[in-house]
Assembly symmetry: C2
Homo-oligomer: 228 residues x 2
């Protein structure tokens, strides 16, 4: 067998959405050459664990969070991306509603925090590039997969999903056409509850019906939202 000296790591680009802001989960490095810099949660893969298991474990350890949505993003393997040694990192994209977990820094991390995506601190290694890739994936994917709901409460006023799309895509969309289109899919069900907003008129609460979506998908249905 060949002799090879490459380490394998995983990193997670985890997005949250709070108060009309897209946020990114970061930790402050405790050790290493990039000590005290903010970085993506992640770490080395154990010999006996699968890649997604490794991300899940690291996230739990470093931030206390368990994701609602996780998918492999891209693998970063440039020779000099880490100056200490050769590290190939498999990046994952994760989504979570930040309200569902309290952040708890621990083992490898001094601090943990949510940062507005458009006001990130300087990041360690090539993590800026990884985040860019993650954001790009998210922006593309919400147009053809209903993953945006992972970022919201189970029950939400329609304006929430509408604002979420505008925030993530960073452009205005027509409320009326958006609502018509989304409702036409039949994957949102109306609850009998009403929101109590801080200002303005109360709104019906909706719920994303995962079962219905899966069933439709099975029948060849293809979620897709286009924007003017």
């Amino acid at each position: 067998m060949i002799s090879q000296n490459i380490k394998v790591a995983v990193d997670a680009v985890v997005f949250g959405y709070v108060e009309r802001q897209l946020q990114l989960l970061l930790i402050k490095q405790k050790y290493g050459s990039e000590k005290n810099k903010w970085a993506l949660p992640g770490g080395f893969v154990l010999d006996h664990e699968d890649l997604d298991t490794a991300v899940t474990r690291e996230l739990k350890e470093e931030t206390g969070i368990t994701l609602a949505y996780l998918e492999q993003l891209y693998t970063f393997g440039a020779v000099k991306r880490d100056n200490r040694q050769r590290v190939v990192s498999i990046a994952y994209l994760g989504l979570i509603n930040p309200k569902k977990f309290k952040l708890t820094a621990s083992t490898d991390a001094l601090e943990v925090g949510w940062f507005a995506i458009d006001a990130l601190p300087p990041l360690a290694f090539d993590h800026q590039e990884i985040v860019a890739k993650g954001l790009e994936r998210l922006q593309n994917k919400i147009s053809y997969k209903p993953i945006g709901f992972e970022l919201l409460n189970t029950e939400f006023p329609f304006s929430n999903i509408e604002n979420l799309y505008q925030t993530i895509l960073n452009k205005p969309i027509d409320r009326r056409n958006f609502r018509k289109k989304l409702m036409s899919f039949g994957i949102l069900e109306e609850t009998d509850k009403i929101s109590k907003p801080e200002s303005g008129r109360p709104a019906k609460l909706f719920r994303f019906n995962t079962k219905k979506y899966k069933a439709l998908e099975q029948k060849g249905f293809h979620f897709e939202i286009k924007f003017a």
Copy 2:
């Protein structure tokens, strides 16, 4: 630093298109537990080389081929995907016109060959899964990126690209609508040459204008072909 015993490899899912058939490039393993089984070209990454460099090198070494198109596909890292030891493999998707290279097996490969995608031999490791992922990516991507041309000659009759789409998507498409749509983009230019078919009427030869496409893309143009 953590002690870790994982090897990093790359594998290539390389597609070719010949005579209305989608083909896959395979090599017959010379060594190892999967000796004499067919497998994807690939191998271990050297400590000092980037991932895409590694794929390119391995492909050249094992098959003599240099790709026209290459993109990262997905990373496969299940603990037991290789029974000898832990190997994480970054898979790449490649496209080439098989006519452009003569296959030359060498160092690590007993034989090299093109196989019709719907008549593959049993594959080593989890390579079947990797191929499935590659095919899925190809099928999706030709709908929104003009990568199909990488599989054709520089100059080709229109029916070639039309048949290519039907073959890859494995379903019939309406010739008239397809042609109208594709021509409307203005990224195909007509040459003054005429094909000499083996049967039927001669046809104008077209050429994909990469420059024009890149320019349009810059201006926000989005290649997309939908099918009835």
